[in-house]
């Protein structure tokens, strides 16, 4: 580890043991860092840590690795694959100067894309800690990350949605009912993604088939995903199941990922397996990752780091595998990590900024649990801020109520609200489909038709529905 950091403020001397300590103490307050015992002991100490952190040269992060190189494959990934040429543009800057630079017109969309492989997660985390919410929004909004599979995600003035038709028993008709509801509200261009209630290969295969058949029948330009463990998805692929995207929850330390039961080699194997199916029509981004501050502490694998730095390190894992989507599930983990609306909103903006700066197609599960000090108004705020920041996608669920995972996330209606007030469209291929199917009369303006789209009118009068009605 590197040296300690010291700051003289009047008669008071503040000392920080090492870079990890300085980073943690400079982090805006949140309950997870308190739980980990790494939080600043006073507001003044935090402000001093931020002043000191601003003086740290970006180069320091290449030498002073926060988790030892020899102990952690993610540190090795970050260091070994660092792009020195891309870094050369910003290599003379301190963290504080980096913030200024990011805010200048010099840091255009093109330039931000060029330097992205030269930025490490720790650099992104460090600069985010001294940025205000508006800085995080402004810079993220300049970053452009475009990915594709059966449609195109991340184009300017677009906001995609993951349709999340979860059901507590994975009932096919229950899932289909939520899927139909979502499609008829214009949701599902990022992915139709199910969290299975029963998590095994047979169930995943069943759900993959269900979604694949719907996507094929209605010719929906989108992709499906069952959010099961990466090793399950590998087995599904081997068995010939119709896998569009490979899912995995990822964390920012090797130990976190071991606790999740995978490593980088397994992700590489799964990516190759999915690519071999060649199911994308527009592009071949085949991975879907989820993250969230607090997962490393929760797995007792945080190496004394603050939770936001651990989170940013997870993005090094993600960018190795060219994902279609990365989703920070910001309020799901509970109040022991992010206590209230203020902490959830801050974390959502940090994650989105760090992800985008590192070149990821960053979306956000704008969400909360019932034991957090948060409500729908906090979610409205975060959704609006993220929409302004150019967030790639958000979740879509009937009436914000996930009856399987027991938490609240954004509804189909919420996405339409954001599209309207911010002038955002869905993925262009999906928009064309919405109009073709007469779900929307003007998809660019998020105008739904007032009649039942003919293709689905037949569905609703089908024998299955009638049978249950009878």
């Amino acid at each position: 580890m590197g040296h300690s950091y010291r700051y003289q403020l009047g008669s008071k001397t503040y000392q920080f043991a090492d870079l990890a300590d300085l980073m943690a103490k400079a982090t805006p307050a949140r309950s997870g860092d308190r739980l980990a015992g790494v939080i600043a002991e006073s507001a003044e100490q935090r402000a001093v840590a931020q002043l000191l952190l601003a003086e740290v040269p970006l180069k320091t992060f290449l030498n002073d690795t926060l988790v030892p190189y020899e102990d952690d494959e993610i540190t090795r990934l970050i260091i070994d694959e660092h792009d020195a040429e891309a870094f050369s543009v910003i290599s003379h800057l301190t963290v504080g100067d980096f913030r200024n630079w990011l805010l200048t017109d010099t840091a255009s969309t093109e330039v931000l894309k060029q330097i992205s492989p030269g930025v490490t997660p720790e650099m992104a985390a460090a600069v985010s800690k001294i940025m205000r919410n508006q800085d995080l929004i402004l810079v993220a909004q300049k970053c452009r990350v475009v990915t594709s599979f059966r449609n195109t995600i991340g184009l300017p003035k677009r906001l995609s949605t993951r349709l999340q038709p979860n059901h507590p028993t994975d009932d096919v008709n229950g899932i289909a009912a939520s899927m139909l509801d979502g499609l008829l509200y214009g949701s599902g261009d990022a992915v139709i993604g199910i969290n299975p209630a029963t998590d095994n290969v047979a169930q995943a295969t069943r759900l993959m088939n269900l979604m694949d058949e719907v996507i094929s029948l209605y010719e929906i330009p989108t992709q499906s995903c069952v959010l099961t463990h990466v090793t399950n998805t590998l087995e599904c692929i081997e068995n010939g199941a119709p896998v569009d995207l490979v899912f995995q929850s990822i964390g920012g330390t090797e130990k976190t990922n071991s606790s999740f039961g995978f490593n980088l080699a397994i992700l590489a194997e799964a990516q190759q397996a999915a690519l071999s199916l060649n199911r994308g029509t527009v592009g071949q981004n085949v991975m879907y990752f989820e993250t969230g501050q607090g997962s490393s502490l929760s797995a007792n694998a945080h190496h004394g780091l603050d939770q936001q730095t651990c989170e940013a390190r997870a993005y090094a894992v993600a960018r190795k595998f060219d994902p279609l989507l990365v989703n920070t599930v910001v309020g799901f983990i509970g109040p022991e990590y992010l206590f209230d609306g203020k902490e959830i909103i801050r974390a959502g903006l940090e994650d989105h900024f760090c992800g985008k700066l590192l070149g990821l197609p960053m979306g956000c599960d704008v969400c909360y649990t019932n034991h957090a000090e948060a409500d729908q108004n906090d979610m409205d705020n975060l959704l609006t801020l993220l929409g302004t920041a150019g967030c790639s996608f958000v979740m879509g669920i009937p009436g914000s109520d996930d009856i399987m995972l027991n938490y609240q996330t954004t509804s189909f209606h919420d996405a339409l609200y954001a599209r309207r007030v911010l002038g955002l469209g869905a993925a262009p291929e999906f928009e064309a489909w919405l109009e073709k199917m007469q779900i929307m009369s003007n998809a660019g303006l998020a105008q739904l038709t007032n009649h039942l789209p003919p293709a689905f009118a037949g569905t609703l009068s089908s024998s299955a529905v009638k049978h249950y009605n009878g």
Partner: protein, 299 residues
Amino acid sequence: MVEDAEMLIVDDSQADDSMVIHNPWRQLRQFTAARIGIGRAGVSTPTRETLEFQLAHAQARDAVHTELDIESLKQQLFQLQQDFPQINSQPPLVLNSRAIDRVTYLQRPDFGRQLDDSGFASLKPHYTKTPYDLALVIADGLSATAIHQNAVKFIASLLPLLLKEIPDFSLAPISLVNQGRVAIGDDIGEALNARAVLILIGERPGLSSPDSLGLYLTWSPKRGLTDDKRNCISNVRLAGLSYAAAAHKCFYLLSEARRLQCSGVAIKDRSTEKIIDSSAVQTSFLLDSKVDRKGVDGK
């Protein structure tokens, strides 16, 4: 709360409905409890659905922040002891975790898992050399509402099974715990010297399930055991798993624990696992053959 909900609906029926676009697929709620077919005002959630959501959230929030009604629970348990004179007739023990209030509890799960010092002291007189067969622990968890509505009724379903099937069944004094998490049951079980501990705890409330009771069984409880040593039964409530079904599951797990002298993953209840056959095609209504292909093709 039910009355309030009905009032809301009655009032709404008087409202001018012309601004709301209804969704004919709301009929699909026959397949799911998800809030589908809400309808819309513009593209936004209509007033009634917005306020119903807020009511559900308010109930879940209240469940999290309601304090355990110790006096009422004591009375209910006293009545139970009248019905089952065979069991330990001592009044319940009232204990606290190291989390001093709800705000601390929510931010420090580690405190909620540990009994405070006075708790250990008050358990000491109840320690026996001959271990109890079972210690029952009732803890607020994340929903005191779940405890108030379900805990004693569940115990009333469980006790007859235990008394009938386990010879000379001995029950430790029942503990009531404020600001408790699951692992605190192990502290208590160890301090009392119980062969097994069953903790009844309020689960994290869902928007449509603020009253869900969770049950966790640990064999040979000791401080510091991890989740893989416990068996869990979830969603015990009027609209979920019935008391009788939960009691049977619980009795099954305890019997297995007594037979194998362990708990947790080793005695997972495999008897209830359904075998899923992915090749057996289950077609949803969305794939029904009567789909209007004209519409699908956009012609």
